[in-house]
Subunit: 409 residues, 2 copies
């Protein structure tokens, strides 16, 4: 008998009918002998309805009261789901974040969980009840209602699983797992049975927006096995787990990409200490986030800097960079917002040499020019012209055999 | 500087615009130097919307979860009102029933308040804040959310006023006070500046449905001065207060009436001990509530019983009474569902003789036959044919000078 924490997002509980379907799923899980704690979001649309009412009064209402307001969304869902569970013979009890004492700091609208009191949950589970918990919300030390910010329900589920030492934390979404790459780009993309936390973090931050990064980090920190499944179809989903020997087989887990970037280069910069800060300091001060940074050694004691920013910030960054160029005596500023970043992700890279070479070979075969390269321990990213996106993703998917089930050791 | 507890019902906070109007009213009150605690209901329609969703799953959902569900209604209102207050420069803080620890018993959906922790409210008031409290809800000793049942927000307001020893508890409704009688029946009906608790109880139970009886009883028990005012118009409303010397002037405060009754008589009943129970026992067992009961001594050791029931129960009561008549050997059963009960209410009756005589005289003048009479310490009720309702109410209103402001002593 396992202890499972399940999380259902807003779409999964978006109507009364869907709430009833979720109750049915939970009942089946219970009949398999598992104990279940369920974390739910507000019904889809509900949070926006509440925020819209507040915005009619004040688009920037006090954060404390906004949290009191929006936290009602999940409270409605826990009650309706508990009613649905009891109706089909599964004893259930609902709890708000305050009731179960999901203790957070007092940073309204973006609070962080500090502690969870698991005593009530344990006694309900011992009594054979399903425990239904409002996601996304908590309570600070003074008893004020707090919310965890966007994606907070995932974090609640992971935190509950950690506090209860649950066997698995299952995140039900509208996709049925993590894929080797976006199936809309490469129809041969395959659902992964397993992926490591580190790979998931790289995949998530690169644009595979299935789980909130914060909840994945949280799960990693507390060693909570996380599984992504579909609310609407059957299937085992993808287990996000700790790196283990078994995992070493798969060199590459997936291909992530990001179309939202633009590239800027400042050429012929005097190569002296502090120059990197002189260039990137003003960009940071303008609140422009920089992603990749590459510095090449040039000739005549000068150097070239290239970095990428979000495409929306391209024009602003270009203007700032031109001012910097004049100030530091750089030769030239160029940029391109028709680029895409493509990354190979896999913990297997660590122990397998030649991944980068194989990647560059695959691109060379297709005649694709690589504009930037950046590597981390489990990721190799390249920047290429946007028009090559599909070509490169499919070539890499083929080259690394991602459409084939890996042999298990 | 006074401490005022104000309560606004669902209609008063039914839209964002109305919530903003309420905020404006509170701001003015604060500018007069008063400290304000506000108790609010759910926006009108919201509670029904929530109950309808639950009913789609289960029309008789578990009471605990129904309370979790419907309590979100007031929580939305406290947040929106606090946002509106802050927006117009009145510092405010909202509290749910759980947060402020409105401790109740665990009778879900009809819980009773046991205690209120006033420490947070006091420190907020001391800091110059408006305290906005969710009506209708509380928390039991185990931390479960409870609701107080219909009209519960009035009770919350009175309980808050009692706990804080407030100077006044103001109930804002869609009427501007308590009238000498229903203005739709007697256009000369006058708004009372004051009425005693006892009179209010008699008026309320007789059909002047302005305040929930429970909240009036509660206010009387804890000596909380209660004022009924309109949310939509200006005016001092009606103060419901303890009987004091000043009040003795007004012999009669008002005329209440009830069209929902029917009359049943069992004639020629053997006059022996226990006969009243033999007749009324089976009626009570059938869950039929009996209002007035009159017993006349008849002739030949027999007696007549007459009583009134709700008009909806008339046919059922008549059938039961016929069976009883056969059993006890009564002569005859008659009934009439075209009657109305009209009551004079006033604490002044206690110290003024001849009120009943004056009442009967007024009816005699109009040629109205009195079918039943029943009296209590501060009330005289008569049953007459329904067609005389308007005639009798206007005659009594005139006879007791209710259209004139009483002289204050």
């Amino acid at each position: 008998m396992a202890l499972i924490v399940q999380k259902y997002g807003g779409t999964s509980v978006g109507t009364v009918e869907r709430i009833q379907a979720v109750a049915e799923k939970i009942r089946k899980c219970r009949e398999n002998g598992d104990s279940v704690v369920v974390v739910v979001s507000a019904m889809s649309g509900e949070t926006n309805r509440l925020i819209d009412m507040a915005a009619q009064i004040d688009p920037h209402g006090p954060a404390r009261e906004m949290d009191v307001l929006v936290s009602t969304g999940e409270q409605v869902t826990i009650a309706l789901l508990s009613i649905a569970l009891e109706k089909i013979g599964a004893p259930a009890r609902s709890y708000t974040g305050s009731q179960i004492r999901i203790l957070t700091d007092d940073a309204y609208s973006k609070a962080r969980i500090l502690n969870i009191d698991d005593s009530r949950v344990r006694s309900d589970l011992d009594a054979g009840r399903v425990v239904v918990v409002a996601g996304f919300q908590g309570v600070d030390a003074e008893g004020n209602i707090t919310t965890l910010g966007r994606g907070g329900s995932d974090t609640t589920a992971v935190a509950m699983a950690a506090a209860l030492h649950a066997d698995e934390c299952q995140i039900f979404t509208d996709v049925d797992g993590v894929y080797t790459t976006d199936p809309r780009v490469e129809p041969k993309a395959r659902r992964l049975d397993r992926i490591t936390f580190e790979e998931m973090l790289e995949m998530a931050s690169l644009g595979s927006k299935i789980l909130q990064i914060r909840s994945v980090e949280f799960a990693g920190k507390y060693n909570v096995p996380l599984r992504v499944l579909s609310s609407f179809t059957e299937g085992g989903g993808t287990l996000i787990t700790f790196e283990d020997d078994e995992m070493e087989e798969a060199m590459i887990s997936g291909i992530a990409f990001n179309r939202d970037e633009a590239k800027l280069t400042i050429q012929g910069v005097p190569d002296r200490p502090g120059i990197a800060f002189e260039i990137l300091g003003p960009i940071g001060q303008a609140n422009i986030e920089v992603d990749m940074i590459v510095q090449n050694v040039g000739d005549n004691d000068t150097t070239d800097f290239t970095f990428t920013v979000h495409r929306n910030e391209y024009a602003k960054a270009l203007e700032i960079l031109r001012q910097i160029a004049a100030k530091v005596g750089a030769r030239k500023v160029v940029g391109d917002d028709k680029i895409v970043k493509i990354s190979l992700v896999g913990v297997g890279m660590r122990s397998h040499a030649g991944i980068a070479a194989a990647m560059f070979e695959a691109l060379a075969k297709e005649g694709v020019n690589i504009q930037m390269i950046s590597t981390s321990e489990i990721k190799i990213s390249v920047v290429v012209a946007e028009k090559y996106l599909e070509l490169v993703v499919r070539a890499l998917h083929e080259a690394f055999g991602l459409d084939r089930e890996p042999a298990m050791g």
